[in-house]
Amino acid sequence: MSLDMVQTKTLLSVRNLTVTLTGEGRDVLKDVSFDLAPRQILSVIGESGSGKTVLARALASWLSEPLAVTGGEILIEGRDLLKDPAYARTLAGREIAYVGGNPAGALDPTMTVGAQLVEKLRAVRPEISAADAREKAIRLLEAVKIPAAERRFHEYPFQYSGGMMQRAMIVDALMSDPALLIADNITQPLDVTVAAQILKLMRELNEDFSTAVLFICSSLPVACDAADEVMVLHDGRVVERQAPDALIDTPQHGYTHKLIEELPTLWAEGRDQAQPQDRDRRAIMSVRGVAKHYETRSASGKALVQAVRNVEFDVFPGDNFGIVGESGCGKSSLMRLLTGLERPDAGSIFFEDENVGEASPKRLRALRRKFQLVLQDPYGSLPPQSAIGAILEEPLKIHAIGNRAERRDRARAAMSEVGLPTDLYDSLPTGLSAGQRQRLNVARAMVLEPRLLIMDETLSALDQTEQGKLLNLFERLQAQHGFTYIFISHDLTMVRQVCSRIAVMYLGETVEVAPNERLFFDPGHPYSRALLSAAPTLEERRYRPEDCLMEGEPPSPIDLPPGCAFAGRCPQAFDRCLTENPRLRSRGGQALAACHLNDPGES
């Protein structure tokens, strides 16, 4: 690009852009104006429905019915894209590249990743030969740190992990040397540690390839991490634009102020929970050495995926127990074991002195009255064609509790307890928002008055404000009914807010079990530290990602290394870690960790 020399010139300038939802006559974007200089990274942040994605699509000339631009201009190097659609078409995919948040959906599953990259480049720049395109693709795959790029070039998307697919999508966008890269929520589906790596990568690429980046996301800490400047979008308007530090120190607009205020913190002192537990109480659920593997077919015949390997923890009555870990660490498999949906291959799960793993199906059904699960997906977890009242009465019918009128009363009582209007009794859940659906899920679980509620990523689909409301609800219900909660989550800030004790999982193992304060201020396992270092937060970090995490992704659960599973990414790994897998050991004060570094003889 010839733009490199004129750093001060603007690459993109948007003037009074207005986008209208034609059916309803509602403006989704109102008078949006901003400039973007070459090589600049600009974050756009706002809650869901604030028009972020619409903005991204308007810039990429990718608006479709019923959305239409009704005013303003989008100038790229002084030429208006809206007045000159032919020019816009030549730019799309060539000078303006777009990366979305769903890499698995964007890659063609029937073509190798390499072939797709080459095809993409040759489609926008037919003058480049296939061999050159191929060479470029491999070079870029190396640039985004895909290991063994030459070999990976010939692999299919399903052989890539989520993080690698997202990297491949970035390569796809960079193939044509774009001047502007629009990154729409690219880190959302990724785990924190992988997302942190992608963010780092974006910055490096920005320097190496002199691409301006419009980085769209919904999390303020991520936005501040990623960009030179942050633009806040609220209700379709740009309310503020500042450098990240200035934005956090002196927010100009009330909405930004509110955003910063609502942000949960990881290391703020003076929480009133996490009281010391008295050890004499009997555990309500006690998990001992649980393991579960699944069979899959791989290239060399059948292979065992060790989803859960060595999980141990106790949950005490009244506890808020957290289980954290990245995707693929076995959280969901563990959830299925804890709820008796599947049986463990080894180890035992005791719920009030009864082994869930070995109980007869009939006994298990009876036990289920006392422990309940709230599922993750607010849309998929409710039967689509049952009325809300019927959904709530179903568990009572299953366990043959009460007569018709009593069940109706109990369902209504549960509805009002979780804050759903009772006149929704006969309506379908279709019109409910995600937050209301999760309330309904909670109501369904608690209508049986269980003692233990397992929350499987219950809050991860909700936005900040709604999460806060539900957490308050959980607290109130706990006070009223004496529930014990197990929160399964990948969200450290959420866990930090509510849990009294936390187990950290890595590749099917519990690597650390510790009280809340202890885990966040004195983690006993390098992986916990790496997780903490990667957590998106505006606070001053206690742990720097550079010190805690090495490049790379977790090893495949099919062929695990003989030693500690984390050794490959651990900066402190030594010989013993490669040969011997550490067991959970007490570090004093209820904290347990599985790391050789904690042995008195080592370090």
Binding site: T339, L341, L373, P383, E394, D423, D426
Partner: protein
């Protein structure tokens, strides 16, 4: 964003009714449903009442009045035979209405039998999977590999071709398609989270299959099955053609059409009248079905 904004401010009065009541009232509000209902009711009433009320005997022959055309449709028509007569001078209106009665009986009960057997087998195969699935699906394949006509000749040739045995043969020949469709939809639904949710609540397999999954996957299947009612009526006439259907002189659409085929050049109405009634019946049933389906989709989509 727009999808969420629309729904909340519906009047709460409409909400107070149960879901199924809302679907029926929604369907009843549409013109198609009413037209379908009126036509269907008239046809059923005529089929069940006319042969009983009027003193015209559908099997009474009158050679002198043979092959007389319907009213105003050619030379020699008369008011006593509104739809004309066949080659033996039997009244077509009476024959068609009695035929409609038998054909409806055979078509509908065969389809019900077919859907019931297919849905059950598909439900079990899809829900339990594994060995149950293998056994049931191989059974289905085996059934599919036997040509229906051979099966019908074998069974109806050995036993007498009475109406129950015809229903049984046709029903047993048709179920594999439904079993396959049912199996695949159940397999897809079964993996969804709400099924797991029900299991965690403590629901038995039986309960999940019949109260949760069946109401979800059956309606589309029934919608397709309505079309099969016509197919089964035709199959009955195929059997009739082979001499294995309902035995003369009892009229069914099958044997009326088979008879009329020979006179198509000079007495088109013999083969046409059953066809007209068949079209009317099926159109009315389909109109009602389509309106119901539309109402269902509308209600479940959140209206």
């Amino acid at each position: 964003m727009s999808a969420i904004d629309i729904s909340p401010d519906l009047p709460s009065k409409a909400r107070a009714k149960t879901i199924s009541a809302r679907i029926w009232s929604e369907a009843f509000a549409s013109t198609e449903f009413r037209i379908g209902l009126i036509v269907f009711t008239l046809l059923v009433a005529a089929a069940s009442l006319y042969p009983w009320l009027s003193d015209v005997d559908p099997t009474k022959m009158n050679i002198r009045a043979k092959l007389s055309p319907p009213i105003l449709m050619g030379e020699g028509w008369s008011w006593s035979h509104p739809l004309g007569t066949d080659q033996l001078g039997r009244d077509m209106l009476a024959r068609t209405l009695v035929g409609l009665r038998y054909s409806l009986l055979i078509g509908i009960s065969t389809t019900i039998l077919m859907v019931a057997v297919g849905a059950m087998i598909g439900l079990f195969a899809g829900y339990f999977g594994g060995r149950v699935d293998t056994v049931l699906m191989r059974l289905t394949d085996a059934q599919l590999s036997i040509p229906m006509i051979i099966l019908a000749i074998t069974i109806l040739g050995v036993s007498r071709p009475t109406i129950p045995s015809i229903i049984l043969v046709l029903g047993l020949a048709g179920w594999p398609v439904y079993a396959r469709v049912m199996r695949s939809t159940v397999m897809a639904e079964r993996k969804k989270e709400f099924v797991r949710g029900a299991m965690v609540l403590g629901a038995t397999d039986w309960r999940i299959m019949f109260t949760l999954l069946l109401p979800l996957v059956l309606p589309p299947l029934v919608f397709v099955a309505v079309l099969d009612i016509a197919r089964m009526m035709i199959f009955e006439s195929v059997l009739g053609f082979l001499g294995l259907g309902v035995q003369p002189p009892t009229p069914t659409f099958g044997n009326i059409i088979a008879d009329g085929r020979k006179y198509l050049m000079n007495a088109w109405w013999i083969a046409t009248m059953p066809g007209v009634f068949l079209v009317l019946t099926l159109t009315s049933v389909n109109l009602m079905g389509a309106a119901l389906e539309r109402a269902r989709n509308k209600i479940y989509a959140g209206a």
